[in-house]
């Protein structure tokens, strides 16, 4: 078995899993972190697709990252490009899109690529947590 759900590993503390939030707005990363940390998740941040790819390829994250929450409109490597990379290289890590611009065509295309949820800002904390929890379940199923 090469991959484990990170909750088993984080030293001594209760952790429901590790989430990477990718968004160019520090404010968004701040509130998403706040919401998810309160729900017991370990949260990592990246400010664009390039940084996100760097982060997932760093050390234990290769194995321990459970869910990615990703914006679309970002500098350098944008959300679409980053998602394509994650789907190809980390197909077992569920992806949630959190975008400021609702675009039906884009949502359809992303869901077809295997994105598990397409959330439009502003999204309520409960809705975000439910989405991440569902993605975590999917992640666990991927290990079975």
């Amino acid at each position: 078995m090469s991959e484990f759900k990170s909750g088993f590993f984080v030293g001594g503390e209760t952790c429901n899993g590790r989430v990477l939030i990718v968004d160019d707005e520090p404010d968004i990363r701040k509130v998403v972190r706040m919401t998810l940390q309160k729900a017991g998740y370990d949260v990592l941040e990246a400010e664009n697709g390039e940084k996100a790819i760097e982060t997932i390829n760093t050390g234990e994250n290769r194995l321990l990252l459970d869910v990615i929450v990703c914006d679309i409109r970002m500098p350098k490597v944008n959300g679409i490009e980053a998602i394509a990379y994650f789907r190809q290289n980390y197909p077992r890590v569920p992806l949630i899109v959190l975008t400021g611009f609702p675009d039906t065509d884009m949502a359809t295309s992303l869901l077809r690529q295997g994105v598990v949820d397409y959330l439009v800002k502003p999204v309520e904390g409960e809705r975000l947590k439910a989405s991440v929890a569902r993605a975590m379940e999917q992640r666990e199923l991927a290990h079975l």
Partner: protein, 350 residues
């Protein structure tokens, strides 16, 4: 090669009609205005003519008697003027006066109103493309506000409450700034007289607006501004021109590249340059880009009126617009304005 001017026109009467006629005819390359005459030395058309380097006369005879005039346009509204002109004009020249002159004046007014309508319509059509940018800029602060408010409902630490409440206030201010920018941009260009416009800050304002229409985050923006660069024109129309040139440049680059904005004022000539490192324009299309309804964009993506309207605005300001382009390397649009000295008016509009 441009053909030589074919019609030499003299304008008699420098009131509103004469001024409008002067402004219109001055934009037409095949017409040479040999002068304008009015008994009233303070007439607005004479002032305008001086700005345009068109000779001014107090006496009609001095204007129409020579200069090889082909056509005298009488916009005085004085019924006796036509006969006086007939006695003074050289053989072979024509007079346009009375009802014909009145009709022409009405057509000029109509044309000017149509151009203003077209400009506004094209601007409103363009605002549709702002949706993505507006959504991004509105929904991000709204996400922050919602997230913080949800947290505040349970937060017990008073310092955190204060801090987050302040964050909410700042986020609300950001969203109101978006509405302010857009309502000011979407309004109809004010019809006030041309004023002195500070070009550098107008370009910066245009960048702010263009952010809604195009993704600028991967565009490197270089500015080469000469301080205190000023042109005379309508500030709202100039803003529209700059927004249009910037969004065109970014479209040409496919959201990645370098956008260069430059201004200069040398020897009475003021220039604004907008350059991109985009796809460039093929030489066979260069001559057509200012034509109305000419577009290389797919249906529904462009009205084909952007550059046409830009050229009209710039011509109305008695400036010129030029383009240099290399396929695969990029394009540079250059606006050139000859300095029009107006020592009495030092006011600069934002």
């Amino acid at each position: 090669m441009a053909s030589p001017p074919s019609t030499r026109v003299a304008i008699v009467g420098a009131g509103r009609g004469g001024t409008a006629l002067l402004d219109l005819l001055h934009q037409i390359g095949t017409i040479e205005i040999v002068g304008i005459a009015d008994l009233n030395p303070g007439a607005q058309g004479l002032q305008r003519a001086r700005e345009l380097n068109v000779p001014v006369y107090e006496q009609v005879a001095d204007l129409v008697g020579n200069h090889g005039v082909n056509l005298v346009m009488d916009v005085t509204g004085d019924p006796a003027m036509e006969q006086r002109l007939r006695d003074q004009i050289p053989a072979g020249s024509d007079i346009l006066s009375g009802p014909a002159s009145r009709l022409l004046w009405e057509l000029v007014q109509h044309e000017s109103a149509l151009q203003a309508e077209l400009l506004h319509a094209e601007k409103l059509a363009g605002i549709g493309s702002f949706a993505a940018g507006i959504a991004h800029d509105m929904n991000n602060p709204l996400q922050l506000i919602l997230g913080l408010a949800e947290n505040l409902a349970e937060e017990r630490d008073l310092d955190t409450v204060h801090l987050q409440a302040r964050d909410i206030i700042e986020a609300v201010k950001r969203t109101t700034a978006i509405c302010r920018d857009l309502t000011s941009y979407s309004r109809r260009a004010s019809s006030h007289q041309d004023s002195r416009v500070a070009i550098n800050s107008k370009l910066d304002e245009a960048l702010k607006i263009a952010r809604y229409a195009v993704a600028l985050q991967d565009i490197e923006i270089r500015k080469g501004y000469q301080p205190d660069t000023i042109v005379k024109g309508n500030p709202d129309e100039l803003l529209h021109v700059f927004v249009n040139l910037i969004t065109n440049a970014v479209h040409a680059m496919g959201d990645r590249g370098t956008l260069t904005l430059e201004t200069s004022a040398i020897d009475g000539v003021t220039q604004v340059r907008v350059s991109d490192t985009g796809c460039g324009i093929p030489p066979e299309l260069l001559g057509r880009i200012f034509e109305p309804f000419f577009t290389t964009k797919p249906p529904g993506k462009g009205t084909g009126l952007g550059l046409y309207n830009i050229r009209n605005v710039i011509h109305h300001m008695h400036g010129t617009i030029g383009v240099e382009s290399q396929v695969g390397r990029g394009s540079t649009f250059t606006l050139t304005f000859r300095h029009q000295s107006d020592p009495e008016d030092r006011s600069v509009r934002p």
